[in-house]
């Protein structure tokens, strides 16, 4: 077995530091990737509650054709902060900083990320930025949606500058996380953990990290320009002063299309771990899944203008963007088919985590299909800017990313806390969420095609039935999320003890105690193969002492 080719960071990975003492150093300003990951998860879920309440304000307004729950201006602020928070304060931090931090170093057999102090900085920027974003309500929150197209965003109240500053900061946080993860995965894999043996969740994070690093810089530049124009009158976007509003759109989408992959690839990664574990069989097409993540990430940089087919793209430019977007469906399809094929011939255990993973397949596929619809220029000219688009991206973001997050929580919660989540509450959570979700967003497809524009506090009275249907379903969905939080709280206190490996999973993180020790591994293990061969003995050496009481030599090499 050739293990010499793999570096494992020399002294860093082997050296065990003493665990810091004191509450503040351990749980607040921690440099432990697991604690930082959990801090991301907690903060992200708090913002999920806030942004979710805003969503219910939106749906309550839309119970009646003429609105009446809040004023038009308030409504605009509400959906703008809702969208911005869901993207930048909920999904991205949960799925990269949260799960990435908790799981990735464990899966590659490392003691921490490459730059633990930088990791702490990344995290602490995030709640500050989040509070800034929500504080914009105090000064007139942004109104032009999460996309904040100028010149509208130049006219709106002072909160828009606060928004720009807040998003800039979460961008900095994301970029630092991206750098940290790339270096960690390149430098700190355990001996024998070649790239072709790396678990698929790590592959997904490896595909995501460059997106965080490269795309986010474009957003940062765009936001800085917006801020300067608003505060100091530097004319970047205002056409009456020689600026270009379209430039913002290009820069925004050059970030935001890759950002949709930032939000989905790590979910793909978790699904690729969960499905084989509960189907008790190897992931189908390991190489194709890993490769397609990279292909999607790369191609994701070349399709941004599919958001701008109506904004004034030269007609001939629409063609390459349309065709390249269609092309992304191929690697995405390959992934979906591989997951479905993994189910075939399995011994499938329908735990809550597995139910969310399978639900993910059904919902994400639908969102992917409507994505193809939208990429077709002629059809997009009809439905751009309507509820059809709203339906599409909720299928991929909620049906995809958020379902992936739930699946991941039920799966990894035992690793993080040492206790299992309640399966009984979990099943209720799943079914109510699944039904509520479809009820909320399925009708929005035809509402959009029939003529309902997005970002409106009022609508054609003939659409009342389906809007009420959608709103009432959204209450069911919200209730399901409430059950999820109840489940976490109840299980933290009373959950069944999980033991190191409640699911019989085979990646490294499951071979050590739950929760893992501060230093993760007593000895860095050596890896001899892929983690997905259920018929084989585990492909690791050097784990013998992990589950025993042998003391670990702190400070030793």
């Amino acid at each position: 077995m050739s293990t010499a080719a793999v570096s494992h960071g020399g002294g860093i990975a082997d050296h065990i530091h003493p665990e810091p003492q004191g509450f503040i150093r351990r749980y607040v300003f921690s440099i432990d990737h697991k604690i930082i990951g959990i801090q991301y998860l907690i903060t992200g879920f708090v913002f999920l509650v806030l942004a979710g309440l805003l969503a219910e304000v939106i749906r309550t307004q839309l119970l009646h054709a003429n609105g009446g729950f809040v004023s038009a201006d308030t409504y605009n602020e509400v959906y703008s902060v809702h969208g911005s928070a869901m993207v930048w304060l909920v999904i991205i931090p949960l799925i990269t900083g949260g799960f990435g931090n908790v799981i990735m170093p464990l899966q590659i057999g490392a003691r921490d990320v490459a730059f633990p102090w930088l990791n702490m900085l990344s995290f602490w920027i995030f709640p500050v930025a989040g509070l800034m974003l929500f504080s914009s309500f105090l000064m007139g929150a942004p109104v032009a949606g999460w996309t904040e197209y100028p010149p509208m965003s130049l006219q709106a109240g002072a909160g828009t500058s606060m928004w720009a500053a807040a998003i800039f900061l979460v961008g900095v946080s994301s970029t630092l996380t991206g750098i940290n993860f790339v270096v960690t995965m390149f430098q700190m894999r355990a001996p024998g953990m070649t790239f072709t043996r790396m678990p698929l969740f790590c592959w997904a994070q490896l595909a995501t990290a460059p997106l965080l690093m490269i795309a986010t810089t474009a957003l940062a530049a765009a936001l800085a320009a917006l801020f300067m124009e608003r505060q100091f009158g530097v004319p970047f976007y205002d056409p009456t002063k020689g600026g270009s509003p379209i430039m913002w759109q290009h820069m925004f989408w050059f970030y935001s299309h890759p950002a949709v992959y930032i939000m989905i690839l790590p979910a793909f990664g978790m699904i690729s771990e969960i499905i084989p574990t509960f189907a008790r069989k190897p992931i189908f097409g390991y190489k194709m899944i890993a490769f397609s993540s990279m292909a999607i990430a790369l191609a994701g940089f070349m399709v941004w203008a599919h958001h701008m087919f109506t904004s004034g793209l030269a007609p001939y430019l629409q063609l390459p963007f349309m065709i390249l977007t269609f092309t992304i469906a191929i690697p995405t399809g390959v992934k979906i088919f591989s997951w479905v094929a993994t189910l075939w011939g399995g011994k499938i255990h329908f735990t809550t985590s597995m139910m969310f993973a399978v639900g993910f397949l059904a919902l994400f596929t639908l969102g992917g299909i409507t994505g193809i619809f939208l990429a077709a220029v002629p059809f997009d000219l009809h439905v751009h800017g309507t509820y059809f688009v709203v339906a599409h991206f909720h299928y991929v973001l909620v049906g995809g990313s958020l379902m992936g997050i739930f699946a991941g929580m039920y799966f990894y919660f035992p690793k993080m806390s040492g206790r299992l989540m309640s399966e009984k509450i979990g099943k209720w959570h799943f079914w109510l969420f699944f039904i509520g979700f479809n009820g909320t967003f399925l009708p929005q497809h035809w509402l959009g095609m029939l003529g309902m524009p997005r970002r409106v506090p009022t609508y054609d009275p003939q659409f009342t039935f389906w809007n009420q249907f959608s709103s009432i379903s959204s209450y069911v969905m919200t209730f399901a999320i409430l059950l999820f939080f109840i489940n976490i709280l109840v299980s933290l206190r009373n959950g069944k003890k999980a033991g190191p490996n409640p699911w019989g999973a085979r990646t490294l993180e499951w071979q050590i105690p739950s929760p893992p020790h501060y230093y993760n591994f007593k000895h860095i293990p050596t890896v001899y193969g892929l983690p997905y061969d259920f018929s084989q003995p585990l492909p690791y050496k050097g784990l013998e002492e992990e589950l025993t009481d042998t003391p670990v030599a702190v400070g030793a090499h």
Binding site: A72, P282, G285, Y286, P453, V456, F534
Partner: protein, 379 residues
């Protein structure tokens, strides 16, 4: 290394029967999308490229449904057929296949071919929409404002407000732009939209094919009244929504009538883009009743007749000339008839928002006098 035992294992009970079932369901879905009247998911088609867009939709909906039926069908079937039975030990494992190159080849090739086919279809329709439109079209300009549209026609001075008329059967080239923020011009029945971006002209081309009156809808967020820049929205209290504007497709004869009426009406209008006029307005002979009607039409979208604090977009205007606790107007001038007239004439952008000027509101000097006379009556 690859342990390819797929062929050695039975596909599972009923695999081919459910596959047949999915095939039948897919055919039904395809038939559904090709035979169903498009009206259940989209408005009627009123212009030429609309039919092709609907055809593309039918193709995508049919093939998308078929694909979805297979994916979800197999998920459900596998979930049932391969579920762990009660009492089965957790360490019993599934079939240990890692991959199957033949299968992977096909499920990469088929989507690739599908993407090629979809690209060919889409490019052809795209070509019909963007490139191959007849050259001899009627060129109309559409201008977006907060929160209404105006239009310019060759041979009509100044701007046409309210409805946009088009003759049946004649190709139209619609060039759109904006005077303030980004708006969008969408007529669902025509299936096309173009964003109205300040400083940029976007073009859509189509040929009206069906007589009728079709709502125009703004789909790009443009401020407080964005939601009402939509002709399907009724106004408050049974009034028409002041933002409702329609495309009216006329017979050529009716179109000519409408066109001449505007030529006469706008005979002396200026072709300059709207700017604030200057010079003082004479308030003599203002008619409060005419002012009241005008107010309902032009101001009530933004102003309530209530106390200053009661906002729609602008402040409530009750007692604007009488309330001793508000001696000054929002622009700092004293609340006198002359200064109110000045605000109406020149507009004012302050902390509350944008009060449009007289040109944007479509007010003549006489209208201003009438409105001031009316505002005086609000005590």
């Amino acid at each position: 290394m690859v342990e390819n035992r797929a062929s050695a294992v039975r596909l599972g009970r009923g695999f081919w029967s459910v596959t047949l079932l999915f095939a039948v369901l897919s055919v039904l879905a395809i038939v559904f999308w090709y035979w169903t009247p498009i009206g259940i998911v989209m408005p009627v088609v009123a212009a030429q490229p609309g039919i092709q867009i609907d055809d593309l939709f039918r193709f995508m909906a049919a093939s998308g449904s078929a694909l979805y039926i297979f994916v979800v069908g197999y998920i459900i079937y596998f979930a049932v057929a391969f579920r762990a039975r009660k009492g089965e030990p957790y360490d019993s494992i599934g079939v240990q296949v890692h991959d199957n190159h033949k299968l992977e080849f096909w499920w990469t090739l088929i989507p690739t071919l599908f993407v090629v086919l979809l690209s060919i279809l889409s490019v052809r329709i795209w070509y019909g929409i963007q490139i191959a439109q007849p050259a001899n079209g009627l060129v109309v300009e559409g201008l977006g404002h907060q929160w209404y549209y105006t239009f310019r026609y060759p041979g009509i001075n100044g701007e046409v407000t309210g409805e946009m008329h088009l003759p049946l059967g004649q190709p139209v080239v619609l060039n759109v732009t904006s005077s303030d923020v980004i708006h969008s011009f969408w007529v669902p029945d025509i299936r096309l939209k173009a964003d109205m971006v300040p400083g940029l002209v976007n073009t859509i081309r189509f040929t009206p094919t069906r007589l009728g009156k079709y709502p125009i809808i703004c789909t790009e967020f443009c401020g407080t009244r964005h939601g009402w820049m939509n002709a399907t929205i009724p106004g408050a209290n049974g009034q028409p929504n002041p933002g409702a504007q329609f495309v009216v497709i006329d017979t050529p004869a009716n179109f000519q009538k409408w066109y001449h009426a505007w030529q006469i009406k706008n005979a002396h209008a200026s072709n300059a883009l709207p700017t604030a006029s200057t010079g003082t307005v004479s308030l003599a002979g203002g008619d409060a009743n005419a002012g009241k009607a005008l107010f309902a039409q032009k101001c009530s979208a933004c102003h309530a007749i209530g106390p200053f604090s009661q906002r729609i977009v602008g402040p409530g205007l009750k007692g604007v000339l009488h309330d001793p606790s508000h001696p000054n107007l929002v622009d700092g001038d004293p609340a006198t008839p002359a200064d109110v007239a000045k605000i109406l004439q020149q507009g004012y952008k302050g902390d509350i928002g944008m009060m449009p000027n007289a040109t944007a509101n479509g007010l003549s000097n006489k209208d201003i006098a009438n409105l001031v006379a009316y505002l005086k009556t609000l005590k």
